[in-house]
Symmetry: C2
C-alpha cells in the first residue's frame, strides 16, 4: 500500500440524485443501480487519491417520516434518529456498491468503512428560532393543523419544516483523519450528519437537519481535504438557469460567487448552499480546489477541470 499521508485527499459529496433519479419511486434496486454512476468513477480515482464520500438523505428520511405518520403502532422516533437510520441504509448501499466497483477494477485491498457521524451545532444559532427547511411528506391544511410540529407552504404543498443550523464541528473528525491516513476509504456525514448540541460535557441529539454540503465543506477544512467535489444533477453552476439566457460558469472566483449569492442568483434550496459550501472551503483553504458538477462527471472534474471550478482569486 502506498503511503496515504503523501497522497492528496478527495472528498466527493453526492447529491440525492446519486441514489434516486427524478421520477423514480426509490426502490432498493433503483438506488443500487444509480449509485454505480458516481462510484465507478470514485473507485478509479481511489488509485490516485485518498477518498472521503459524503451524501444526502432527503428522499430516504422523507420516506421514514411518511412511514412514521402512517403507523400508530410504533413509537415515533425523533428526526436525529431517522438521520442515523438513513446513514446506515445509504452507507451500506454506497459501501457495497463501491466494493463491487473496486473489485471490477482489481482493487481488492483497500479497506472501506461507513462511519455513523454526528455534527455539533450551536443552540444559540438563530436557525433554532426559525424552522425553515421543508422535509418529508405533503399534508392537507387539516392534517397539518393536527401535527405536533410546524409546517409551511412550499412549492410542493404544505410540509413539515425543521431547523437547519450551521455545522460547528464534526465529532468524528479525528477518527476520520486517522482512517484516511491509514488508507481507508471513509463514507461519513450522511444526510449532513446527526445533529447534536453540546450539553456540559456530553452531546444530545436535536430535531434538526444540517445541510450536507455545508457539513462537507466543514469536514474538508477539518481533515485537510485537497479537492472538494460537489456532485449533483447539473454539469455546471449557471446564471439564469433554465432560461434562454443560461450561462454555464467554468470558473468562479470567491468574490464573484459571493456577489452572486448576495444577489440571489442561485436557487435557495438547491444550488445556493452548494456554491456557499464551495466558497467557504476555498476562502478558508485558499490553495485547495473545489468544483461543482454532475454525478456523471466527477472524474472529468478532478482530472480535466470540467464543471465549475472555484478559485480564491
Amino acid at each position: 500500500m502506498t503511503n496515504q499521508s503523501k497522497r492528496k485527499t478527495l472528498l466527493a459529496a453526492l447529491g440525492g440524485n446519486a441514489l434516486i433519479r427524478s421520477g423514480q419511486a426509490g426502490t432498493a434496486e433503483e438506488q443500487f443501480e444509480n449509485l454505480r454512476v458516481p462510484l465507478s468513477q470514485i473507485a478509479d480515482l481511489s488509485r490516485e487519491y485518498n477518498i472521503i464520500i459524503t451524501h444526502g438523505n432527503g428522499p430516504q428520511v422523507g420516506n421514514l417520516l411518511l412511514q412514521q405518520e402512517c403507523c400508530d403502532a410504533v413509537p415515533r422516533l425523533p428526526l436525529e434518529i431517522l438521520v442515523a437510520q438513513t446513514q446506515g441504509q445509504i452507507g451500506y448501499m454506497i459501501e457495497s456498491t463501491l466494493d463491487s466497483e473496486l473489485m471490477k477494477l482489481g482493487i481488492d485491498s483497500t479497506p472501506l468503512v461507513t462511519l455513523i457521524t454526528y455534527v455539533v451545532c450551536d443552540q444559540s444559532d438563530p436557525a433554532f428560532k426559525n424552522p425553515s427547511k421543508p422535509i418529508g411528506p405533503v399534508f392537507t391544511e387539516t392534517e397539518a393543523s393536527a401535527l405536533p410540529y410546524p409546517t409551511k407552504e412550499t412549492s410542493k404543498g404544505r410540509r413539515r419544516v425543521v431547523v437547519s443550523p450551521e455545522p460547528v464541528t464534526i465529532v468524528e473528525k479525528l477518527e476520520i483523519k486517522k482512517l484516511i491516513g491509514t488508507g481507508f476509504i471513509v463514507i461519513c456525514c450522511g444526510g449532513g450528519g446527526i445533529p447534536v448540541i453540546r450539553e456540559e460535557r456530553a452531546f444530545s441529539g436535536v430535531d434538526a437537519v444540517i445541510d450536507k454540503d455545508l457539513v462537507s465543506a466543514k469536514l474538508c477544512e477539518e481533515v485537510d481535504v485537497d479537492i472538494f467535489v460537489i456532485a449533483s444533477d447539473v454539469t455546471h453552476v449557471a446564471l439564469d438557469y433554465g432560461t434562454p439566457d443560461q450561462i454555464n460558469l467554468d470558473r468562479l472566483t470567491v468574490a464573484d460567487a459571493e456577489r452572486y449569492l448576495k444577489e440571489d442568483r442561485f436557487p435557495a434550496g438547491s444550488m445556493g448552499p452548494k456554491v456557499e459550501a464551495a466558497v467557504r472551503f476555498i476562502k478558508t483553504c485558499r490553495d485547495k480546489r473545489a468544483v461543482i458538477t454532475s454525478i456523471e462527471h466527477i472524474a472529468d472534474a478532478v482530472r480535466d477541470d470540467f464543471g465549475t471550478q472555484f478559485v480564491a482569486t
Copy 2:
C-alpha cells in the same frame, strides 16, 4: 495512549434488553436511558481493555417492518436494508451514550466508531430452504395469506419467518482489527450484520437475519478477542430455567454445554444460540474466556468471574 496491541480485547454482545426492557414501548428516551446500564460499565472497562460492542436489533427491525406494512406510499425495502437502518440507529444511540459515559469518567481521548458491517453467508446453507426465524409484527390468518413471504405460527401469533443462515465471515474483519489495534472502541455487527452472499467477486444482500451471538463468536475468532461477554436478561445460564428446580451454572465446560445443547436443555430462540456461541468460541480459541451474564453484571463477569464462565475442559 497505551499500546493497544499489548492490551487484551473484550467483546460485549448486548442483547435486545440493553435497549428496550420488557413492557416498554421503545421510545427513544427509554432506549437511551436503558443503554446507560451496560455502557457505564463498558466505559470503565475501556481503561483496561480494547473494546468491541455488538448488539441485537429485534424490536427495532420489527418496528421498521411494521411501519413498512402500514404505509403503501413508500416502496418496501428488503430486510438487509432495514438491518442497515437499525445499525445506524442503534449504533448512534450506543455511541452517543458511551461517549457521555466516557466523559463522566474523564476519559475523553478514546476514539469511538460505529461501523456498518456486513457478514457473508453461504447460499448453499440449508437454512435458505427453511425460513425459520420469526421477525416483525403478528398477522391474522387472513392477512398472512395475502403476504408475499412465508409466515409461521409462533408463541406470539402468526409472524413472518426469515432465513437465518450461519455466519461465514465478517467482511470488515481487517478494518475492525486495524481500528482496535490503533485504540478505537468499535461498535459493529449490529443485528447480526447485514447478510450478504458472494456473487463472483462482489457481494449482494439477502433477505435473511443472522444470529447476533453467533456472528459475535465468529468475530471474536477472526479479530483475536480475549474475553467474549454475552449480556442479556439473566445473570446465569440455568438448567430447568423458571422451574422450582432451576440450577444456575457458574462454570460450564465445552463438553457439558454441548451435551445440554444436544438434550435441548436451553430454549431454542433465546439461551440456546448464546450457549452455542460461547461454546464455538472456546472450542476454537481454547485459552480465551467466554461468559454469559446479565447486562447489569458485565463488569462483575469480567473482573470477578460472575455469571456463567465457559471453559475448554
